[in-house]
């Protein structure tokens, strides 16, 4: 297996004029470039979604505030939720999967490079289309009108009767279009992992990241379908006189909920499993130990994938299901705590007895472990249906799922950014600014989302644009809003660090972390075809074997 990196000459080696470079980026089918496009696109939308969150938090900083009108507030939470899930989290996850999976399994590209490009552009146009609603939502009337039905868009609020104009159509069509992209990418990831692994890399010797992305791909294929079907039915209702969700004509509002949440709950795992994947690669390297319990980590991941398909109605404990229905979903939902618990214990056991290096990627992973623990425990509270009758649709549930999506998923993604930045850019990030980002964001995160649980317990529902004084919510909301400022500054430091380091960072070299998986065996950034010679592996940590020929992993596996 080659360790020396061989740069290939080709279109990437010689930089043409700006227009030509842009043309290359737009027409690229290279998995690394598409991965970077996904990531770049997601960071732009992360900033947009963050601005929307900030607008909401300013409005809620004190009771009866008049910063924005109720109409604007309702658009903000709809756009914030839709943007962050579909146009930030998913593109980030797909971007990293695109970039890393072929490199880590010793492949030269994804299985279907042109499908890959098609998928990216579908997702990209979906997001741009959604934002066009600010200008085009009212059609010929000219005034802006973004969707305002909430990110899960419960029927019949989305019917023509209650949602006039075209704002809901922008929401529907943008998810339809980006859903096609998601399915394309999922097929690509699965095909790549099954067909393009290098010699010697059996399924049991794949890096965990590949296993976890394989599970994620399977989930995407299964769950985007119901979402797309629901969007099509909604379009039929709105324009062809259908009655799927038209309650005035015998349709069912509850059916929409089932369709949405059988997508919506596994979607959480679509996003968090790749975050698990990053943590499963980074924690071993910065603890200097092999991952603990590899086979059971794989089993737990696949188990989570299956169980997550049977828990969706825990979003619907208050819609009037029978007591036996509620009881079933309590059991299935709580069952998911077992494989996730196994994962946490295995990460801890990986650190146990190791040498923990507190570099920025590891800091984010440690914070991930702490926050994912709390997110899981509040999840157990919400899984107890009667407790959920009080907590759901309150700020407690908002705090809970932001703990998952920010505290776990985004922290995992930040860890991935810092860990693979040297590989992607060829430069080291600035460690001090990375630490500053970590502390600002962590403090802001805890100010915002720890304290957000409390107004929920005190009876504050989500999605209200204002509230009266005297409910005991005022000071908690003030603290929550202050936390947002810390997070916003943290994100600016993060983006600044990425940009600064791209031009000024120290040269990284091919393997700055003394790591063990194949992507570190090629140059940084990798050449267009990744590996001059396709590597051959004998264990899960091929570079460990190379660095420790006296004690290789394949002695033990």
């Amino acid at each position: 297996m080659p360790t020396e990196s061989i740069s290939l000459t080709g279109p990437i080696a010689t930089r043409g004029p700006l227009l030509e470079q842009l043309h290359q980026w737009v027409t690229t089918v290279d998995h690394k470039r598409l991965g970077l496009l996904y990531i770049f696109y997601a960071v732009v939308f992360l900033v947009i979604g963050g601005v929307e969150a900030t607008i909401m938090r300013i409005q809620l900083i004190r009771p009866l505030n008049n910063f924005v009108s109720p109409e604007v507030f309702n658009r903000m939470f709809t756009m914030h939720g839709t943007t962050m899930i579909f146009f930030v989290a998913m593109p980030l996850v797909f971007g990293f999967a695109n970039y890393l999976v072929p490199l880590m399994i010793g492949a030269r590209d994804m299985a279907f490079p042109r499908l890959n490009a098609f998928s990216f552009w579908m997702t990209a146009f979906g997001g741009i289309f959604l934002y066009f609603s600010f200008i085009g939502g009212d059609g010929l009337y000219g005034a802006g009108n973004a969707p305002d039905v909430g990110w899960f868009a419960y029927a019949p609020l989305t019917s023509q009767t209650f949602s006039q104009g075209h704002s809901t159509d922008f929401w529907t069509l943008s998810l339809l279009v980006s859903g096609i992209g998601s399915i394309g990418t999922a097929i690509n990831i699965i095909a790549t992992i099954f067909c393009l692994r290098c010699k010697g890399m059996t399924l049991g010797k794949m890096p965990l990241l590949a296993w976890l992305n394989l599970t994620m791909g399977g989930l995407v294929i299964l769950v985007i379908g119901p979402l797309t079907a629901a969007q099509l039915m909604l379009l039929v209702d709105r324009y062809l006189g259908g009655h799927f969700f038209d309650t005035q004509a015998g349709g069912s509002a509850v059916i929409w909920m089932h369709f949405f949440w059988i997508f919506g709950h596994p979607e959480v795992y679509v996003l968090v499993i790749p975050a698990f994947a990053f943590v499963s690669e980074i924690v071993p390297v910065f603890s200097r130990k092999a991952i603990f319990g590899y086979p059971i980590m794989v089993a737990a991941t696949v188990g989570i994938g299956f169980i997550s398909m049977s828990v969706w109605a825990h979003h619907m404990f208050t819609v009037g299901m029978s007591s036996s229905g509620n009881t079933f979903f309590v059991l299935s939902t709580m069952a998911i705590a077992v494989p996730t618990g196994i994962k946490i214990f295995n990460w801890l056991a990986t650190m146990w007895g190791g040498q923990v290096h507190f570099r920025v990627p590891m800091l984010f992973c440690i914070a991930f472990l702490f926050q994912f623990l709390i997110a899981g425990l509040t999840g157990v509270m919400l899984a107890a249906a009667p407790f959920d009758w009080q907590l759901t649709a309150s700020y407690f549930v908002v705090a809970h799922f932001h703990y998952v999506i920010v505290g776990a998923i985004l922290f995992g993604i930040f860890a991935a950014f810092y860990y693979w930045y040297p590989k992607m850019s060829g430069r080291m990030y600035n460690e001090r600014f990375g630490q500053l980002h970590f502390w600002l964001f962590t403090i802001g995160f805890h100010l915002t989302f720890d304290f957000m649980h409390i107004p929920g317990i005190l009876g504050m529902p989500r999605r209200i644009y204002t509230y009266e004084p005297g409910r005991g919510w005022d000071s908690w909301n003030l603290i929550v809003t202050i936390g947002v400022l810390f997070q916003a500054v943290g994100v600016l430091v993060f983006v600044g660090n990425l940009l600064w380091s791209y031009w000024r960072g120290a040269i990284a070299g091919s393997d700055p972390w003394d790591a063990w998986t194949l992507e570190w065996s090629t140059s940084s950034p990798p050449p267009a075809y990744n590996f001059a010679r396709i590597p051959e592996v004998r264990s899960r940590r091929p570079l460990w074997d190379l660095k420790h020929p006296e004690d290789p992993d394949w002695h033990y596996e």
Partner: protein, 328 residues
């Protein structure tokens, strides 16, 4: 995070504190929630301690420079332990939750129960007492329930338009009002007083100001309130100027005043408007000045309200407000 949750279990913090139950469903949920908080709190302490210990104890030391730690690949005993123990915890929590689900959802309905039909509208609440022939809006009156002789109130939940959710945290968990999908819930308040809450399912522009007010009264007070609400609006035979304007403009397309020509059903029943402390679903105190402002321009008080401004002149506004004040 869990410790503040326990501290919050002190009632005066908020009139809508879920940890200050005043009715059996809320009480059973509270008891369950304490159990769940204890179990999850214990898990938190154990796992957090392990994490903190690992981070401190196994941090990189300069003495270990250049040497890799011993490589450990797994342990079947450990994996078995941290699979079986969580399974046992999950089974325990599941059984505890299942018991409360059954006790709240499958509770038998005694003959002494009061029936109320709650209809959610954008953005107000309609209450109908079918056996007592009373229709009112936004302020729900129910009797206190003595545990020895329970008089619980059973609510049938309907919606006239979009989804809503009935949530009065101190009385019970929330239940959604979904069009074409009747739901039910029950409460049996153990103390009298005013209990607050609000719509908990996003229902449109003014979801935020769809507030809930539940007046729990002694049985005598409640019976008197029912008697008063069953009367027609007024007994004077002279028709005021305000009433003429009210019946001449579009007001009566949406509003009803029992015993008069007004029989609209789209908006709140106004027969006994002045018996209420607030109007517009709790958005404003029911004072003549507020009422006049509301009739003049509803969106000034509650932007997004479905009630249109009728473009009445100042003198017409005075007259209609005066008429409203006679609806006792």
């Amino acid at each position: 995070m869990l410790i503040p949750a326990f501290i919050l279990a002190v009632p005066p913090l908020s009139p809508t504190n879920i940890f200050a139950p005043a009715s059996t469903p809320a009480q059973s949920i509270f008891d369950l929630s304490l159990f769940v908080l204890e179990v999850t709190g214990a898990i938190f302490v154990v796992v957090f301690s392990l994490l903190a210990y690992a981070v401190v104890k196994f941090r990189k030391r300069s003495s270990s420079e250049g040497r890799e730690p011993a490589q450990v690949y797994g342990s079947s005993q450990l994996e078995l332990a941290w699979t079986v123990i969580p399974v046992l915890i999950v089974v325990t929590l599941f059984l505890a939750a299942a018991r409360v689900i059954a006790s709240v959802q499958n509770a038998p309905k005694p003959d002494s129960a009061i029936d109320v039909t709650v209809i959610g509208h954008q953005f107000w609440w309609e209450y109908r007492y079918p056996s007592l022939k009373v229709v009112t809006a936004n302020e729900l009156h129910i009797p206190v329930s003595d545990p020895a002789h329970p008089t619980p109130t059973f609510l049938t939940l309907l919606s006239a338009d979009t989804d809503h959710s009935f949530w009065v945290p101190r009385l019970a968990g929330k239940t959604d009002l979904i069009p074409n999908h009747p739901n039910s819930m029950w409460v049996d308040p153990h103390e009298t007083g005013l209990f607050l809450g609000q719509c908990a399912q996003y229902c449109g522009t003014q979801h935020a100001m769809m507030l809930l007010r539940v007046y729990v009264q002694t049985r005598d007070e409640f019976d008197r309130w029912i008697r008063e609400q069953s009367q027609p609006a007024q007994s004077t035979s002279v028709i005021s100027e305000g009433q003429k304007i009210f019946e001449r403009t579009a007001c009566i397309n949406c509003h009803a005043v029992a015993g008069t020509a007004a029989n609209g059903r789209f908006g709140p029943d106004l027969t006994h408007l002045m018996s209420r402390d607030t109007f517009a679903s709790g958005a404003a105190p029911n004072t003549p000045a507020n009422l006049r402002q509301w009739i003049k321009d509803p969106s000034a008080i509650k932007p997004g309200s479905k009630m249109p401004a009728m473009g009445l002149s100042d003198s017409e506004l005075d007259a209609v407000t005066q008429y409203m004040e006679t609806l006792r």
